[in-house]
C-alpha cells in the first residue's frame, strides 16, 4: 500500500461519513419544515371542501330560486292576461255606461 493511499484513506472515510450524515440531517430538516406546510394544506383542503359544499348548496338554492322565478313569471303572465281581460271588460262596461236607478 502506497503512503499516499494510506494518507488519503481517513480523509475519504471522513468525507463519505460527512456526506452520509449530512444527507440524514437534510431529510429530517425537510420533514420538520414540511410539517406545518402539510398541516396548512390539510386545513386548506378542509376549508376548500367546506367552500365547495357551500357553493354547491348556493347553486342548488339558486337553481330553486330560478325555478320559482320562472313559475312566478308564468303566473304573472297569466295574471297579466286576466287583468288585461278585466280591463277590457271594464272599458266595455264604461263604454256601455251604467244604468241609473230611474
Amino acid at each position: 500500500m502506497s503512503p499516499t493511499i494510506t494518507k488519503l484513506t481517513p480523509a475519504a472515510i471522513l468525507l463519505i461519513a460527512a456526506t452520509g450524515l449530512g444527507g440524514c440531517a437534510t431529510k429530517g430538516f425537510v420533514r420538520e419544515q414540511i410539517a406545518p406546510v402539510s398541516q396548512r394544506v390539510t386545513q386548506l383542503e378542509t376549508a376548500l371542501q367546506e367552500t365547495d359544499g357551500t357553493a354547491k348548496r348556493a347553486l342548488a338554492e339558486a337553481q330553486a330560486a330560478s325555478g320559482q322565478l320562472q313559475s312566478s313569471t308564468q303566473r304573472l303572465e297569466q295574471l297579466n292576461g286576466r287583468v288585461d281581460g278585466m280591463e277590457q271588460q271594464m272599458q266595455a262596461q264604461a263604454n256601455r255606461g251604467r244604468r241609473p236607478r230611474n
Partner: protein, 232 residues
C-alpha cells in the same frame, strides 16, 4: 131576562171573534196618485229642514263655489241654487219608493229587475254630482255613481201604470215615492235649469234623510246649532 141573555152572549161572542192579527211588514207599494191640483194652488214651499240646510250651506260656503241642489225626500221637493247661493227654483221631484237613507252594498251593479222593493231607496248625504255617461250613451247628472243614483227627467219608457207625471203634478208629496232610487225632475226644469248649471263642472247634491237625524247625515250642522246656542 135580556140582561141575563147579554151576560151569557158576551163571552161567547168573544170566543167566536177572530184572534188579533200579527202585523207583518210588507214591501212598499206605491201610494195612490192624488188628484191634480186646482188652479190657484199655493206654490211649492220649502220645508223647515230644507231651509235650515240651505241657510247653513250658503253661510258656510260648503258648495265650494259650485251650484248645489237640496233634495227633501219628506216633502218630495228639490231646491236648486247657483254657485253664489242664489235660489234658482223649488220644484217637486220623484224619489225612491222605499223610505231609507242608505243604499244596499253593490246595488249600483244590479239590474233594475233584480233590485228588491226595500232596496229602492234614495240614499241621504252630501254628494259631489257630475255629468257622466250612462247606458245608451246618454249623459246624465250622476249624484252617486257607486249606487247608480242620478237626477234626470222622468224616463220616457217608464211604466204607464206608475203614472209618474201625474204623481209629480199632484200637490201631495205622499205619492211621489215611485222610483228605483233616482231623483226625477220635470223635463223642462232639467233642460232649462239643471243641465246649464251642472253640465260644465257639476256641483253638490244634498239629500235630506228620511229616518236618520239630520245632524248625523250632515255633521257640520252641529256647529250651527252650537253657534246659535252661544250667540247673544
Amino acid at each position: 131576562m135580556i140582561a141575563v141573555l147579554l151576560a151569557f152572549a158576551a163571552p161567547i161572542a168573544a170566543m167566536i171573534a177572530p184572534a188579533p192579527m200579527v202585523a207583518v211588514p210588507e214591501p212598499p207599494s206605491p201610494a195612490p196618485v192624488a188628484p191634480p191640483p186646482a188652479e190657484g194652488d199655493a206654490p211649492l214651499t220649502r220645508s223647515a229642514a230644507s231651509a235650515r240646510v240651505a241657510d247653513w250651506f250658503a253661510a258656510s260656503n260648503d258648495n265650494g263655489g259650485l251650484p248645489y241642489i237640496i233634495v227633501d225626500k219628506a216633502s218630495a221637493s228639490l231646491a236648486m241654487f247657483d254657485a253664489r247661493g242664489k235660489a234658482i227654483g223649488d220644484v217637486p221631484v220623484l224619489v225612491g219608493i222605499a223610505p231609507g237613507d242608505d243604499a244596499t252594498p253593490g246595488i249600483g251593479t244590479k239590474n233594475l229587475s233584480r233590485i228588491g222593493p226595500a232596496e229602492k231607496t234614495t240614499p241621504a248625504g252630501r254628494f259631489r254630482a257630475r255629468y257622466g255617461l250612462a247606458a245608451g250613451r246618454q249623459k246624465i247628472l250622476w249624484v252617486d255613481y257607486a249606487t247608480s243614483v242620478a237626477i234626470h227627467p222622468i224616463p220616457p219608457k217608464s211604466e204607464k201604470s206608475e203614472q209618474r207625471r201625474a204623481r209629480m203634478l199632484s200637490p201631495s208629496p205622499d205619492d211621489n215615492r215611485i222610483t228605483f232610487g233616482c231623483i226625477n225632475v220635470a223635463s223642462a226644469f232639467y233642460r232649462k235649469s239643471v243641465r246649464p248649471l251642472f253640465q260644465k263642472k257639476g256641483g253638490y247634491v244634498y239629500v235630506l234623510p228620511d229616518i236618520r237625524p239630520i245632524e248625523e247625515v250632515f255633521p257640520r250642522l252641529r256647529v250651527q246649532a252650537l253657534i246659535d246656542r252661544t250667540a247673544p
